[in-house]
Amino acid sequence: MSAGETIWVDNPPFPANARRAVNDAQLRRNIRNATSTIRQRRATMVEELPDWQQLRTAGAAIKDEVLARLDRYLEQFEQAATQRGAHVHWARDADEANSIVGSLVAATGEREVLKVKSMVTQEIGLVGALAKRGISAYETDLAELIVQLGRDRPSHIVVPAIHKNRSEIRKIFLNEMGDAPADLSDDPHALAEAARQHLRRKFFQAKVAISGANFAIAQTGSLLVAESEGNGRMCLTLPETLISVVGIEKLLPTFRDLEVFLQLLPRSSTGERMNPYNSVWTGVTPGDGPQQVHIVLLDNGRTKVLRDHIGRQALRCIRCAACLNVCPVYERTGGHAYGATYPGPIGAVLTPQLVGVEHAATLPFASSLCGYCYEVCPVKIDIPTVLVKLRHDVVKAERASPESVLLTATGAVMKGRRRWTLALRLAPLMRLFRHGGPPPISRWTAVRDLPEPPRQSFRDWWVTRSATSKQADQR
């Protein structure tokens, strides 16, 4: 795939990024506070539904049905959307999508466009690509606006500015917004009001908006955007031209399937019973809303993911970020450490598959495999299993390393009873390194002692015991 601008995976690798993040006390406090709040809200909202597990099963099944017959649903979607007056475009990768969107904007003659919060436009680096064509794209989601004004990168799928606290946001607004009141305080209401005034002017001027979509309905050709602020709806209704970039995995077969997903998504993502704004549109409605409606269907590595029978479940993802909010690794590193558009557990399985494991070789290892992500995933993506499978792919692609030599050697020792019994008698040697040792042991002993080795392995004890009891029997 063409990498786009937002992929900077493995450079530096995850452990190095993580080290920096772990030592940033302010960052850790910001993220811990935010994730534990959302985590708690989600838990409360999920507990009150008696059929949550059935909903998860249904969500996974519907997505699997789409992925199994993706070709058919895509054509059905194209036909339905076209019939209702939308123009459907197909993009193989980020460059194709950016060039299609760029040309569509250029054809309108506009130099400024509004953006609805969208992960897929981050994935393809759309804002940067448009800037190269002299087109300014303004983020309208409050958190995305903060990130854009701060020349920063999003660090969370749903709350992109989770790594910033309000005093940091105040500074960004004062320095970068241009029309922020000089006496702006760091009170959340004041900050929101400043953003509201700033954005309102833009909403009334803009002729073109660009969005993604949470869901695309094959049956009707409709798109849906779920959001909390209403800024998305402003963009989806006021401009004359609306361009939506949609990953091909966003499809649902029928409108009825929203019944499942509009329960799963808000409870999982923001811990709400429903999203404050669900905007659905189907092609063009004459005299109401955008009269030029374009849909860019994007592959960008997705069909490649589809080929892997274990990895493909990652395409069920509805970008709720529940996995990020419960992940003990994400909680301590934040999203930037993952070095890609999609951070956290889902990013660790999605990014390597989209860009190739060789370009993101440390991401599948950025997990203790605790399984909390799988437990909360509304579409039952077994992230730990996919991580292990991707680790296997990484190892297969690599040449011999100290680790591969060590693990192959221990594997060989474990394949013979006598070898293993003898090896266990070397355990007392561990005493030499209990409080320190050469790398990689030092990575363990930096903060932990090694255990005091036993005088006898279990099996030696067992053999002795059996011999003793036999003797006793004979006597």
Binding site: V329, M414, E452
Partner: protein, 266 residues
């Protein structure tokens, strides 16, 4: 019923007391176990590091196929046997082995599952008059779904002062080679777990996995926290008269001595 004990490589090599305590509990309940000496390792450490060692899967299947049940004093290894063995066999194109692995996985039980679901008791007659806190370990809880079985067993121990661990559902940061590959994140998670453990005032941190305990215990030893780590089996094995007789073992070697004395006494 012929029952085999799969001690796991870690217990066999470094924590034999957890294995001996498992034998002790089961024999006390009238369920003798066999220890097939051909057993070595389930291959989880290899698999989770990306090395799918199908020979270790085959070894497990061949060593244990003749038994009615296999009991494992580790949620993590039991979960690997249940969920990873068939996958590893399939990845190697060995579909027949995958089928056999599934069949044996179905009769492989983590200790608390075996006691409650197979032996059918949640009171093993143990005595352990100490303040204990329990860390559920992620794989027991989420991959194996042992639920509250270990806690039910612990609650029935005479004299125990069982206190809840704050943020018990959070990973301790071990994760096998994760602790080496991402040492900073692992250490940060460990620090939070230790803080929670120490805050309970417990003398003993208990879990069903010696691996997680090796990590948390190693951290606690390093900072001289004075909190001991014991495998669930070691608490369940303790009675007024047998095993370590409700005494707190100070270090591993002393536990071995106590156990030997108990053994000789019989």
């Amino acid at each position: 019923m012929r029952v085999a004990l799969f001690t796991t490589c870690l217990v066999d090599a470094l924590f034999p007391d957890a294995g001996r305590a498992t034998v002790e509990v089961l024999e006390r309940l009238g369920q003798p176990v066999e220890f097939p000496l051909e057993q070595t390792c389930c291959g989880q450490m290899h698999a989770n590091s990306g090395y799918f060692d199908v020979d270790l899967v085959r070894r497990y299947v061949e060593v244990f196929s003749g038994y009615d049940a296999v009991v494992v004093p580790s949620g993590s290894c039991a979960a690997s046997i249940r969920h990873q063995h068939p996958m590893i066999a399939r990845a190697a194109g060995e579909h027949w082995l995958a089928k056999r692995a599934e069949a044996i996985a179905a009769k492989t039980f983590e200790l608390s599952q075996f006691l409650i679901d197979v032996v059918g008791t949640d009171d093993v007659g143990a005595h352990f008059p100490h303040r204990v806190t329990y860390h559920p370990t992620c794989h027991s809880m989420r991959m194996l779904d042992v639920g509250d079985r270990p806690l039910r067993l612990l609650r029935n121990v005479r004299g125990i002062d069982l206190v809840e661990l704050p943020r018990w559902d959070e990973c301790c940061g071990f994760g096998g080679t994760f602790s080496i590959k991402n040492p900073d994140v692992s250490a940060a998670m460990l620090a939070d777990k230790m803080e929670a453990v120490i805050g309970t005032g417990a003398e003993v941190l208990c879990a069903g996995d010696r691996s997680c305990l090796m990590h948390i215990g190693g951290g606690l030893d390093r900072i001289r926290a004075g909190v001991r780590t014991l495998h669930l089996a070691e608490i369940l094995a303790s009675t007024e008269t047998g095993y370590h007789q409700g005494q707190l073992p100070t270090v591993t070697t002393e536990t071995a001595e106590t156990a030997e004395t108990a053994e000789t006494a019989r």
